[in-house]
């Protein structure tokens, strides 16, 4: 089998898989190719006849001479497969491959990059398809990014090259179907380059890897544009630089490039492996699963439905508890109580299950960071060894989305400020490349994310000096290490000596802290000079559930988030004092804190008006501490947060509401809002 013939068969095989009944141009091309295969295999009757047969099938399909087009397409596919098998069995083993023999992929449909039409408007009937495409394409592009980053470490990993190829191949297929010409063209050019890499004709490293990465990024933009356009039923926005990128992709696909001279040792890979890779592709989209990795089947469900499910299960739990309570009072039948406890177990496991459905692994965010590390470290000329641990750690998808931005800031800072340049590192006896570790784990009901670098550590003196200059701390103030580290979260304090466009503008860390706190999480810092720093972010598993202390004021019950509570006491008369006859205060451990009477604030009839008969809950919001006066503490409970209802709107001092075990609604207090509204 000559090399050209092999190429031709490969082309036919992928065309047969991608063929759509309506795509006459592609079918015609396939027909021509099959005929020329037939002509070139005159000396092998079996192959020649099969090719001729396949060509006839295609012809019938083009002429509309078949009843069942899907069956016809399948027939064509199997004929082409048979053709491949025949030719392979007669081919001389391990045909020598010469890179120079590979024709530049110019004969194909997207050959002239300058002439791609802009994308057309996405009409209403196509919008759902387009949205599905967007979801799929984004998933593929994420896989592609992961593969690219892995290839950067090991350019010879053919599995990753194949995964990459499949990603672009699938996108190309669907884009063609949706007539997204530009995406199709980009996917095609990338695929061509990857195909060569897959066949080990070019080595996917260095600038080639960069250009593929660029193609991935542009594709991501284009897919984003399709998403916007599908929603608005408009034409997708143009992405600039496509033609140039296509040209560069094509250039990268030229074998014999200077950087390619060191031919990979595996260029003479055995034919079996090669065939296996080809078989993976020719069997079409069904074979997108990684060989050897069992993938679970997934079903897409809208988040709205999921939320309804979780709500309904929550109700079931409450109803079950109520029934159990009622029956427990009237009957003491053994069988009944056994069955009830069985029901209870099932309900709880159903609840756990429904909550877990919203959980997603953090790996997606970690991958984003891997890319960021790569880009940032290149930009500022530092070498970074990036280690990810615990990517499988799961947390609520809302949290995952919200944590991405703060992590970006912290990772950037770690590379820019934390790690030293290669020379400095060598001077201080460290390895050339700095080590940055991102680690996620579950810890006592929280998710803990650690960002560890082995850089120079936080410069304490410098931070204090800056803080004094900025008037944040007084000159004679004595600060603990923790207090000093927390200063970097102060707005307007940046320790970078030179301003770069990567970090060091002094915005960022305060935003990071705010974002993390909005997720009801917190950040801790540990740092040793010369040995690096550890930033630890602790987050709740989910935004949907909080631990709350249930308090009672008169007949009303309120929930105070545990994270806002410092302690609860019943004050003695000595602790209470007033100012100007009105402002009440309570002395707590040598500190005088104002008292907020919740009953006055919310206008409810209290049981106690005397603070010494009531309970004081000491609450805090950042540096602000107040005494919240309530009648009674009922207990601590985990509650599911619900909105109070849009028609009531955002109320100061109320963060939401929750349904308690008895089915009644109770309001969740927003301590920051209460402190603010009282200060006004």
């Amino acid at each position: 089998m000559t090399h050209e013939l092999g190429e031709l068969i490969e082309k036919c095989a992928s065309a047969a898989v991608l063929a759509r009944p309506g795509d006459l141009a592609a079918l015609a091309q396939l027909h021509t190719d099959l005929q020329s295969v037939g002509a070139q295999t005159k000396d092998q009757p079996a192959a020649s006849i099969t090719a001729g047969h396949a060509a006839t099938l295609v012809e019938n399909l083009v002429l509309g001479d078949v009843d069942d087009v899907d069956a016809a397409l399948r027939d064509i596919g199997s004929q082409v497969n048979a053709l491949q098998t025949i030719l392979r069995s007669t081919a001389p083993a391990a045909a020598p491959k010469s890179p120079a023999a590979a024709p530049a992929p110019q004969s194909e449909e997207h050959a002239a990059p300058g002439q791609i039409e802009p994308e057309r408007q996405i009409v209403e009937s196509d919008a759902p398809l387009a949205m599905e495409f967007v979801g799929e394409a984004n998933a593929h592009l994420d896989t592609a990014e992961a593969s690219l980053l892995k290839l950067e470490d090991d350019p010879t990993d053919l599995n990753e090259v194949n995964a990459l190829f499949r990603a672009f191949h699938t996108i190309k297929g669907v884009a063609g179907f949706l007539e997204l010409k530009q995406i199709g063209a980009l996917a095609h050019s990338t695929e061509t380059l990857l195909d060569l890499a897959r066949k080990e004709k070019v080595k996917l490293s260095g600038s080639r890897l960069d250009v593929v990465l660029e193609a991935r990024d542009m594709m991501k933009q284009m897919v984003g544009a399709v998403e916007t356009a599908a929603a608005a039923q408009a034409a997708p926005k143009q992405v600039s630089g496509l033609t140039q990128l296509l040209a560069r992709l094509e250039k990268a696909a030229q074998p014999g490039d200077a950087q390619d001279e060191a031919a990979p040792a595996r260029a003479t890979a055995d034919a079996a492996e090669h065939d296996e890779a080809a078989a993976n592709i020719t069997s079409g989209p069904a074979a997108t699963a990684q060989p050897g990795v069992a993938q679970e089947a997934n079903v897409k469900v809208s988040t709205g439905r999921l939320d309804t499910l979780i709500n309904t299960v929550g109700e079931l739990v409450i109803a079950q508890a109520m029934v159990a309570q009622d029956l427990g009072m009237i009957a003491s039948d053994q069988r009944l109580s056994r069955n009830l406890s069985h029901l209870g177990k099932i309900t709880r496991s159903l609840q756990d299950l429904s909550m877990s459905m919203r959980m997603v692994p953090i790996a997606g965010v970690f991958q984003k960071m891997a890319r960021l590390v790569r880009d940032v470290s290149r930009k500022i000329g530092k070498e970074v060894e990036f280690v990810q641990i615990g990517g499988e750690t799961e947390l609520d998808r809302n949290v995952v989305e919200a944590i991405s931005d703060p992590l970006v800031h912290m990772v950037r800072n770690a590379i820019d400020h934390g790690l030293e340049g290669p020379e400095d590192r060598l001077k201080s006896g460290k390895t050339r490349a700095g080590k940055l570790t991102l680690k996620a784990s579950h810890h006592s009901g929280n998710v803990v994310i650690e960002i560890t670098d082995d850089g120079r550590g936080l410069p304490k003196e410098k931070i204090v000096k800056k803080a004094i200059a900025a008037g944040i701390v007084k000159e004679d103030q004595v600060l603990t290490d923790q207090e000093i580290f927390q200063l970097i979260f102060h707005a307007g304090l940046s320790t970078a000596e030179k301003l770069t466009d990567i970090s060091g503008r002094g915005v960022g860390m305060d935003v990071v802290k705010k974002n993390v706190e909005a997720l009801r999480g917190r950040i801790e810092i540990a740092s040793t000079p010369g040995h690096g720093s550890i930033f630890t972010v602790r987050l709740p598993l989910t935004l949907a559930v909080i631990d709350g202390l249930i308090v009672k004021v008169g007949a009303q019950r309120y929930i105070v988030p545990i994270t806002s509570i410092e302690q609860s006491i019943r004050p003695t008369a000595e602790q209470i004092s007033t100012a100007l006859g009105r402002g009440e205060m309570c002395m707590i451990r040598e500190k005088v804190l104002p008292i907020i009477r919740l009953h006055r604030l919310f206008n409810v009839e209290p049981t106690n008006t005397d603070p010494t008969q009531a309970i004081i809950v000491i609450v805090q919001d950042g540096p602000n501490r107040r005494c919240l006066m309530v009648d009674e503490l009922i207990g601590q409970q985990q509650v599911v947060i619900k909105s109070v209802g849009k028609e009531i709107g955002n109320l100061p001092g109320i963060a939401g509401c929750a349904i308690l075990g008895d089915g009644n609604v109770s309001l969740i207090l927003d301590i920051a809002g209460i402190i603010e509204s009282v200060s006004e």
């Binding site: 309904t312 909105s643 028609e647 109320i654």
Partner: protein, 165 residues
């Protein structure tokens, strides 16, 4: 009254249909049946501070938290103690393009009536004493008059009782 009839004549044809009727004191009101999601017995309502006085608070409707409006307070009528017959009608309304459920507390639910459009008159004008925007008509059943409410407007409009000019 004749004046009001002529103003709204164009819409009166579309108003016939089934209405759920309920009482507030001696007055009978009607709600378009398609707006009614369900009727539930009176239950404890969690008060929400800093809301208008007619908003009684929120309740748990099978896992969904909905707000409850006291229709008596909404219309500026004197409140009464709750009775065995006091109930909450859950209605589905549209506000700013979004559908949502809300509860209204009424004294007593009566029946579902089919009121033909020829039995519906426009709301009479009460001058500046009382705004009638939220009344979509007066249904005449025998000698009784049912005040047919535009519940979307009742629950979303800022103020029902007009300030005397």
């Amino acid at each position: 009254m004749s004046e009001a009839v002529t103003i709204g004549k164009t819409t009166s044809a579309a108003r016939g249909g089934k209405y759920l009727t309920f009482a507030l004191g001696p007055e009978e009101y009607g709600l378009e049946i398609l707006k009614v999601r369900e009727i539930i017995g009176y239950m404890d309502i969690t008060a929400v501070p800093r809301t208008p006085s007619h908003v009684r608070g929120v309740i748990n409707l099978r896992g969904q938290v909905i707000s409850v409006t006291d229709l008596r307070r909404r219309f500026g009528m004197p409140g009464i103690e709750k009775t065995e017959q006091t109930c909450i009608i859950v209605v589905e309304i549209t506000s700013e393009g979004r559908r949502m459920s809300m509860g209204i507390v009424v004294d007593r639910v009566s029946e579902v009536l089919n009121i033909p459009s020829n039995a519906i008159e426009d709301a009479p004008s009460f001058g500046t004493q009382l705004a009638t925007d939220f009344i979509c008509g007066m249904g005449k059943i025998g000698s009784n008059v049912k005040i047919l409410l535009d519940i979307d407007k009742v629950l979303t409009a800022e103020q029902v009782t007009a300030v005397a000019a």
